[in-house]
Amino acid sequence: MEGAWEIAFVLFQVWLSIVVGLIVLPAMFGVSLGFTDIYIRVLVKTLEWATLRIQRGQKEQPTLPSQSANGIIEKDDGSMEEEIGELRRSHPKNLVGGDFTMCDAFYFCKKGIENIVEDQVTQRFTSEELASWNLLTRTNNNFRYISVRLTIIWGLGVFIRYCILLPLRITLAVIGLSWLVIGTTIVGLLPSSNAKNWLSDLVHITCYRICARGLSATIRYHNKENRPKKGGICVANHTSPIDIVILANDGCYAMVGQVHGGLMGVIQRSMVLSCPHVWFERSEMKDRHAVAKRLKDHIADKTKLPILIFPEGTCINNTSVMMFKKGSFEIGRTIYPVAIKYDPQFGDAFWNSAKYNIVSYLLRMMTSWAIVCNVWYLPPMTRQDGEDAVQFANRVKSAIAHQGGLVDLSWDGGLKREKVKESLKEEQQKMYSSMIVAICACGDGSLIKKA
């Protein structure tokens, strides 16, 4: 019995040193030994083969419907005016004037039914559908049994992901986070100086690099010349908490967020020791002016790192960008927009906080194939004269959506949890009433037909 424990211990030590030697140390120095690249290449080839095999299998059984990633609605993209106009023009009495007709209701009815079958907002809060299966059980949507070989590859994939990659990744994550806490605490003991800042940056970046390896993350950074500078604000679209790891792999940022308890709180407190981050108490968050002031003070100090903010306020599924909250854009400094786009083929990075808590989410991340994403640094933007915060926010949002190939929506991400505001319904009513020509704002309430 003793012997078995000793052997296990020795094996564990060997394994740990391999991990540290081959993964952690190179990661800290930003050197890649190429394992991840090889892994990704093998993965891509396998998935391509799997896709072809599935397509061939589907062709051989034509009775089965193939997956259509498109909706089932054939939408007319006409505006309210166009569609109601068309309904009226084909009226038996051939009305041209634009009076109210009973069939106007049919326009709203049609829109309503369309939205019941498929709507633009709800689908953004669930994971993106894949056009072809990527051999993960969780994305299996009606992909039927095709061949023995495919099943074997799938089984092999399960084994590799859960028995080899998962323990490895958990080890790396633990090492990375412990290093962050210990490293920042040590650096915090030093007096303020340039050396301290440099060391703090080093500790942060090495920790994030280890964490990135812990997710098998392959990140491609584009336009590095536009990287956020000190005293600026970096805004990005939000898909998951991993966004922070992705961005911090290539630069140092001051994080903004709520103070948490537990493990998260420990990490937050130690990070603050080595360089200033902006952590808010829950009570402070309600006071918008206090929040704005703290952020302003931070960026006014040119020695402090650029702040990282996610203006959507919640995680969206990486197919679209939702409304940016104007708070960050009122502070009035240079904004450095960043677009992050994950490749869903290798692993779905979206955190559906309604379905999974943070631990289940991280476990899912660690049992995916890999995280592959592209990061684009966009040229800095500033608020122009005559532009208010909301317009500026929309401008930045469009730029990010355009670069990342995401749909630009003006819906509020807060709709994930809240109800639609009455004002939106009123807007619809206003639009419709403007089409009823017979109405005019006469004080006496009489109807006067406009010419």
Binding site: S68, A105, F108, T122, T151, L415, K425
Partner: protein, 191 residues
């Protein structure tokens, strides 16, 4: 790994449903997925709040009525069967269907589409749209944008134009006469 045909079989009475509604297997699966997605608590049926969660529908001035159309009077839940049957109204009309004298009218006929629209107005289901019912719909569609008097004028004029038998209400036949031809070709579910 799941199979498409087994997913189809999970839907109870799917063959009958497909025949009654004319939806293809792909559409049935799609609608079933949507039904399950709306049924967040997995109860197997939908209640009005599940529909209310669709943001774009909540913004629709007559959204409440459309939701109400799914629920039979007195019932608080709608199962998948009913869900699909009601959506079947909005399938495009089958122009090439042979007219068999004894077969029931298809759900997506022009007549049934009109009846659906008619029932949005006729909430008490007495077969006529009274002046009050018309006013309520106008109120919903126009909200605070117009005054009471303007609403009443519009209602009066509409009834005047459509009401042929002078009973101060609009029957289904009268409604049909003032509805445009294009109504039946306003299909929006891909064939």
């Amino acid at each position: 790994m799941g199979s498409t045909s087994s997913t189809l079989l999970k839907i109870p009475n799917v063959e009958v449903l497909m025949q009654e509604t004319g939806f293809s297997p792909a559409h049935m699966i799609r609608l079933h997925d949507r039904f399950k997605a709306l049924d967040k608590e997995g109860r197997g049926h939908l209640c009005p709040q599940d529909f209310g969660a669709i943001k774009e529908l909540a913004m629709n001035p007559i959204g409440d009525r459309i939701i109400g159309a799914f629920f039979c009077p007195g019932k608080e839940t709608v199962d998948f069967h009913t869900f699909v049957k009601i959506l079947a109204h909005f399938r495009p009309v089958d122009k090439n269907r042979p007219k068999e004298p004894n077969s029931p009218e298809p759900i997506n006929s022009r007549s049934n589409k009109l009846r659906f629209a008619f029932q949005l107005y006729d909430q008490d289901k007495d077969g006529k749209i009274s002046r009050d019912e018309l006013l309520k719909v106008l109120q919903a569609m126009l909200g605070m944008q117009v005054t009471e008097e303007q609403l009443e004028s519009i209602a009066d004029r509409t009834i005047q134009e459509a009401d042929l038998d002078r009973d101060d209400a609009i029957s289904f036949e009268e409604f049909r006469k003032v509805s445009p031809e294009i109504l039946h070709s306003r299909c929006f579910i891909k064939v």
